[in-house]
C-alpha cells in the first residue's frame, strides 16, 4: 500500500465511492462533494486497514453515512446533474434512458438507495450489507424489497444466488 493511504485509496476506490454517493443522491455534483469529503476525512485521519477489502468497506460506509447527513449542511451549493457534466470528461455517453434512471435514483429515499447499490451493483449479500450498515438482516431484506418496488427494478432471474433472494 502507498505511504499516502488516502491517495492510494482514491486511486483505487475513487470511482467506487463516487458511484456509491451518486447511487444515493442521483446527483453528480453532490456525489463529487461527498467523495471529496470521504477522502479528505481519510487524509486528515488515517485509518489502519487490514486489507483493501476492509478499506473499501470503510470508504463505502463513510460515504453512505455522509450521504445521509449531506443535506443538513449549508455547504450544498451546486446541484448539477449528470446531464450537465461534460460527457467527454467522463468518456462515455448518456442516453435519454440514463436521464430517466438518474431521476428515479434521485427520487429514491437514501435508506433504500444505499442497500440497492450495495446489493445490485457492488454484489454484497444481505449479511454483508447488514454488517456494513449496522442493521439487522431482516431490516436490509425489507429495505431491499421496498427499495426495489420504489425503483421498479425487475430482477433478471439468471445469475442470482438463490440464497440471496429477497422475495
Amino acid at each position: 500500500m502507498d505511504d499516502n493511504t488516502a491517495l492510494y485509496a482514491f486511486r483505487k476506490y475513487g470511482d467506487t465511492v463516487l458511484r456509491a454517493a451518486y447511487a444515493c443522491c442521483g446527483n453528480y455534483s453532490e456525489a463529487e462533494d461527498i467523495t471529496q469529503d470521504v477522502f479528505l476525512a481519510l487524509h486528515s485521519k488515517p485509518q489502519n486497514f487490514e486489507s483493501d477489502e476492509h478499506m473499501k468497506a470503510w470508504l463505502l460506509r463513510v460515504a453512505l453515512n455522509k450521504c445521509k447527513n449531506y443535506k443538513k449542511s449549508f455547504r450544498v451549493s451546486r446541484t448539477d446533474n449528470i446531464d450537465d457534466v461534460n460527457e467527454n470528461e467522463l468518456k462515455c455517453s448518456f442516453t435519454p434512458k440514463d436521464s430517466e434512471i438518474r431521476e428515479n435514483i434521485a427520487r429514491l429515499p437514501k435508506k433504500y438507495s444505499s442497500v440497492i447499490f450495495l446489493y445490485y451493483y457492488e454484489g454484497y449479500n444481505v449479511r454483508e450489507i447488514a454488517e456494513m450498515l449496522g442493521k439487522k438482516e431482516n431490516t436490509v431484506n425489507s429495505l431491499l424489497q421496498r427499495g426495489r418496488k420504489k425503483l421498479k427494478i425487475e430482477l433478471e432471474r439468471e445469475g442470482y444466488n438463490e440464497t440471496d433472494r429477497v422475495y
Binding site: Y22, F39, N65, K66, R78, C92, I101, L133
Partner: protein, 724 residues
C-alpha cells in the same frame, strides 16, 4: 427498470479528469485538520413566517405535519428493539461507571440533564432537570453494581410501550446533539441501555460509538424512578404528584368530553431522509375503539401543558419527525397530534391549540395501531358535483391573493429564513375570471390529507386565498384544497389556463414577486463552471467557527468555479481576530483547510489568493450572491418600515429593482439588476450613511464558460512565511 440498466448506468459514473486532478492535488498535500465550520451570515434578519392569522383546526394539524423539517433526533428510543434503523451493538464486559463518573467530576460534562420518558399513565409529569452530583451519586448507587448481567440486544424482550426513565449526559444539555454524549435508559422490566454517541464522527453508523446492554436486578427500575420522582417533586409545580390515571378514571380533555366522538380520519407522517411522507389510513372499528380508549385514559388534567403560540408551534413543527394526526368529529373539527418527540397537541375548532408533554409511549402505542391499518387512496376517483365545486369556489375565493413558492434555492436558505410568499389584491374582474374558470372544469374529489401525500406534494408554487375563516390553495400541479377538502383537475391541461390568469395578475401588481421569480429562475447560473470576473466590495465581516475575519477591500474578483479558486486583486486591509495586519503579508488558515495568503504591494494595495473548495463570501460566490438577495428581500418584509420596491426596465432588457427598509433605526437600500435570464449583473447594498456595505458587478466582457479567460495561477503557499 431492469437491473442491468441500473448497473450499466451506475457503471458510467466515474471521476472526471478534472475532479481526479483536484483530488490528487489535495491528497498529495500535507493533511489538514478536518473541521466542520458554520457559515454565519451577518446582518441578516430572519423573515417572519408567511401565514394567515388563524387556521381552522385541521389546517393547523396539517401545518404542523407539513411545516416540519427533518431534525435528527438521536437518543432515547422507547422500544428500539424493533427500530429498523437500530444499529451497532456492543456488549460490554463491564458497566462504564468509572468513565461516566470521571467525566462528570472532571467537568468535561458540565451541562447534564435528566430526561424522564415514561408511560402516560404514571409519571409523565416529570420535567427535564439539571443533574447534580448528589443525584448522580444516588442513581449510580442504585444500579446495584454487583448484580447485573450483560446481555445481547437480541436476547432482550421487545420493550415497546414500556415505561422507562432515562438521563442524558451531554456537555451542552440534552437539546444539542453535537460532539460526544451519553444516554442511559432503564426500562420497567429492568433492561437497560447505555449508549455513547459521537456526532462528529461520520464513519460510525448512527454515530454510535458503543452500546451496552444490561439486565438489572428486580426492583432497580422502581428505585431509580423513585429517586427521580423525589428529586422532581422538590421543584416541580405539578401538585398532583403521583397521579395514576386509568381508563376507569377519565379526565377532561380541553374540548370538554369524548362523548359521541370517534376517530374520523387518521394519518401518519414521517420524515424520511428529509422528505415528508404522509399516508392516510383507513379507520377500522377496532382501531377506533383502541385509540379512543388510549385518548380517554390520557391524564389530561395533570400533564404539564402550554398554550400554543407561534414560537412553540414553530418549535414543534420543526422538531416533529414522526406524527400521527387524528381527526375527531369532522363537523366540529378537533384534531389530536401525537409525535415521536413526546408531545401531544390538541387543536380545537377555533384553531387554538394546547401542547402537552405526553411522553413518547402514547405515540408508540397509537403508531403500532396505525401501522396495521390499510392506506387510503388520496383521490377516490369520484367526480365532484357542479354544485359542490360552485359552493367551494364561491365561499373561499376573494380578492386577497397570496403567492407561495418554494424552489431548490429557497430550500437551501430555509434553515435560516421562513417560507416565502407575496401578497397582492386582485380586482373584481380577475377574481370573477378565476372563479369562472375554476367552476368550468371537472374535479376529482380527494381527502383532506391528499395534498400532502406522495405524488401530490411535490409542487413548488401555489396560490392561496386566506381570510379569517378559511384558507384555500391552488397549486401548480392542479390541486384545489383547503383544510378539510381537496380536489384535483381531471385534465391537467386546464392547469395552465388558471395559472396564467393568476400569474399575470400578480406579476403586474407586485415587483417583489417579479424579483423573487427572477432570482429563483436565474439561480441555475450558479451551476456555471469556468471563470468570471467581477468588481466587488467585500463584506465587512465574516465569522468562521467563531473567528472573525474583517476585510475591507475594493477590487476585482476572479472566480474559478471548477477549481473552487478565487483570486482578489485590489486595495485595502485584512484583519484577523480584530488585529489588523498591516505588515507586508498576512496568512489565514481556515479550519477546513483552506488557505489564504495576502501580500501587500505598495501602499494599501494587496493581492489575496484563495485556494479551497468551499463557499466564501456572498459577493465572491455566485450562488451565495443569489441567496444574499433573498435574505435582503426577507429583511425587507420583516422590517418595521418598508419604503419602496420598484422595478425599472433597462434598455438591454434587464430590470433594476430597488428596495429600502428601516430596522432598528438603521436604513438599508439595495439595488439589484437582473437580466432577462435571471442572471444578476449588479448588486449594491448601502446603509443609512450612504456607505456601501456590499457591492458586486459583473465585468462587461464576462462570459461564463469562456475559454478565453485564463485564471491566474494560484499562489503556492510558502509554509515558511506563515504567520502563526
Amino acid at each position: 427498470m431492469k437491473r442491468t440498466e441500473y448497473t450499466e448506468h451506475i457503471e458510467k459514473i466515474r471521476c472526471s479528469e478534472e475532479f481526479k486532478r483536484k483530488m490528487e492535488r489535495q491528497l498529495s498535500a500535507a493533511p489538514q485538520e478536518a473541521h466542520e465550520y458554520e457559515d454565519v451570515v451577518q446582518g441578516v434578519e430572519p423573515a417572519k413566517r408567511f401565514r394567515p392569522n388563524r387556521f381552522a383546526a385541521i389546517a393547523a394539524a396539517l401545518v404542523i405535519i407539513a411545516g416540519g423539517v427533518g431534525v435528527s433526533m438521536h437518543g432515547i428510543r422507547n422500544g428500539h428493539m424493533t427500530d429498523p434503523m437500530f444499529s451497532e451493538i456492543q456488549v460490554a464486559s463491564d458497566f462504564p461507571y468509572a468513565e461516566i463518573y470521571d467525566l462528570y467530576n472532571s467537568q468535561q460534562i458540565h451541562g447534564t440533564a435528566v430526561y424522564k420518558n415514561v408511560d402516560l399513565a404514571d409519571i409523565s409529569d416529570f420535567q427535564t432537570g439539571e443533574m447534580t452530583n448528589e443525584l448522580l451519586d444516588s442513581l449510580f448507587n442504585n444500579f446495584e453494581m454487583d448484580s447485573w448481567n450483560t446481555v445481547k440486544v437480541k436476547d432482550m424482550a421487545d420493550t415497546r410501550g414500556m415505561e422507562d426513565v432515562s438521563f442524558i449526559l451531554h456537555p451542552d444539555g440534552y437539546e444539542r446533539y453535537t460532539g460526544v454524549y451519553y444516554i442511559f435508559q432503564i426500562l420497567e422490566n429492568n433492561d437497560a441501555y447505555f449508549i455513547k454517541y459521537d456526532m462528529a464522527d461520520d464513519s460510525l453508523s448512527d454515530h454510535i460509538v458503543s452500546e451496552y446492554c444490561y439486565q438489572f436486578t428486580e426492583g432497580t427500575f422502581e428505585r431509580y424512578r423513585d429517586i427521580l420522582r423525589a428529586e422532581n417533586a422538590e421543584d416541580t409545580t405539578i401538585a398532583e404528584g403521583d397521579v395514576t390515571v386509568s381508563a376507569d378514571d377519565p379526565q377532561t380533555p380541553p374540548f370538554g368530553s369524548f362523548d359521541s366522538m370517534n376517530v374520523q380520519q387518521i394519518a401518519v407522517s414521517d420524515f424520511v431522509n428529509y422528505e415528508l411522507q404522509v399516508v392516510e389510513k383507513e379507520v377500522t372499528e377496532t382501531a377506533n375503539s383502541e385509540i379512543m380508549d388510549i385518548l380517554r385514559s390520557f391524564p389530561w388534567d395533570t400533564v404539564p401543558r402550554e398554550d400554543a403560540n407561534e414560537e412553540n408551534m414553530s418549535t414543534l413543527a420543526n422538531g416533529s419527525k414522526n406524527v400521527v394526526a387524528i381527526i375527531l368529529d369532522t363537523e366540529k373539527p378537533i384534531s389530536i397530534l401525537v409525535d415521536s418527540n413526546g408531545k401531544l397537541t390538541t387543536v380545537m375548532e377555533d384553531g387554538s391549540a394546547i401542547i402537552y408533554d405526553s411522553g413518547t409511549a402514547i405515540y408508540d402505542r397509537i403508531r403500532e395501531i396505525t401501522d396495521g391499518l390499510t392506506a387510503v387512496e388520496p383521490f377516490s376517483g369520484e367526480i365532484a358535483s357542479q354544485e359542490e365545486i360552485d359552493s367551494f369556489v364561491e365561499e373561499n375565493i376573494d380578492s386577497q391573493l397570496y403567492y407561495h413558492i418554494s424552489s431548490p434555492l429557497l430550500e437551501e436558505t430555509q434553515g435560516i429564513t421562513g417560507s416565502r410568499g407575496t401578497k397582492v389584491m386582485t380586482d373584481n374582474d380577475t377574481v370573477e375570471a378565476i372563479k369562472a374558470k375554476l367552476k368550468s372544469f371537472t374535479w376529482e374529489k380527494g381527502s383532506s390529507f391528499a395534498p400532502y401525500t406522495e405524488g401530490f406534494n411535490d409542487h413548488s408554487r401555489e396560490f392561496m386565498w386566506a381570510n379569517s375563516e378559511n384558507t384555500i390553495y391552488f397549486s401548480e400541479n392542479g390541486l384545489l384544497y383547503n383544510s378539510s377538502k381537496s380536489y384535483r383537475l381531471t385534465d391537467t391541461e386546464d392547469i395552465a389556463e388558471i395559472w396564467d390568469i393568476l400569474h399575470e395578475n400578480i406579476a403586474e401588481e407586485s415587483p417583489d414577486f417579479r424579483l423573487t421569480e427572477s432570482i429563483i429562475n436565474g439561480y441555475n447560473f450558479r451551476n456555471m463552471t469556468g471563470t468570471y470576473s467581477a468588481s466587488f466590495t467585500v463584506p465587512a465581516e465574516v465569522s468562521v467557527s467563531g473567528k472573525s475575519f474583517v476585510i475591507e477591500s475594493d477590487g476585482t474578483a476572479y472566480v474559478d468555479k471548477e477549481n473552487g479558486g478565487i483570486m482578489l486583486e485590489g486595495s485595502g486591509t485584512v484583519s484577523y481576530n480584530n488585529k489588523a495586519e498591516t505588515e507586508r503579508y498576512a496568512y489565514i488558515k481556515y479550519p477546513d483547510g483552506r488557505e489564504r495568503y495576502d501580500e501587500a504591494r505598495g501602499e494599501g494595495e494587496s493581492t489575496a489568493h484563495y485556494d479551497g473548495y468551499n463557499t466564501l463570501f456572498p459577493m465572491l460566490d455566485y450562488a451565495e450572491l443569489y441567496k444574499q438577495v433573498l435574505y435582503d428581500i426577507e429583511s425587507y418584509y420583516a422590517s418595521e418600515s418598508k419604503e419602496f420596491i420598484t422595478d425599472e426596465d433597462n434598455s438591454d432588457g434587464s430590470h433594476t429593482y430597488a428596495f429600502k427598509w428601516l430596522k432598528d433605526k438603521e436604513k438599508t437600500t439595495v439595488n439589484v439588476t437582473v437580466n432577462e435570464q435571471g442572471k444578476i449583473t449588479s448588486y449594491i447594498k448601502i446603509n443609512g450613511d450612504g456607505n456601501v456595505i456590499n457591492s458586486f458587478e459583473l465585468s462587461d466582457d464576462c462570459v461564463f464558460d469562456s475559454d478565453d479567460f485564463a485564471m491566474p495561477d494560484m499562489y503556492k503557499i510558502n509554509n515558511e512565511r506563515i504567520i502563526s
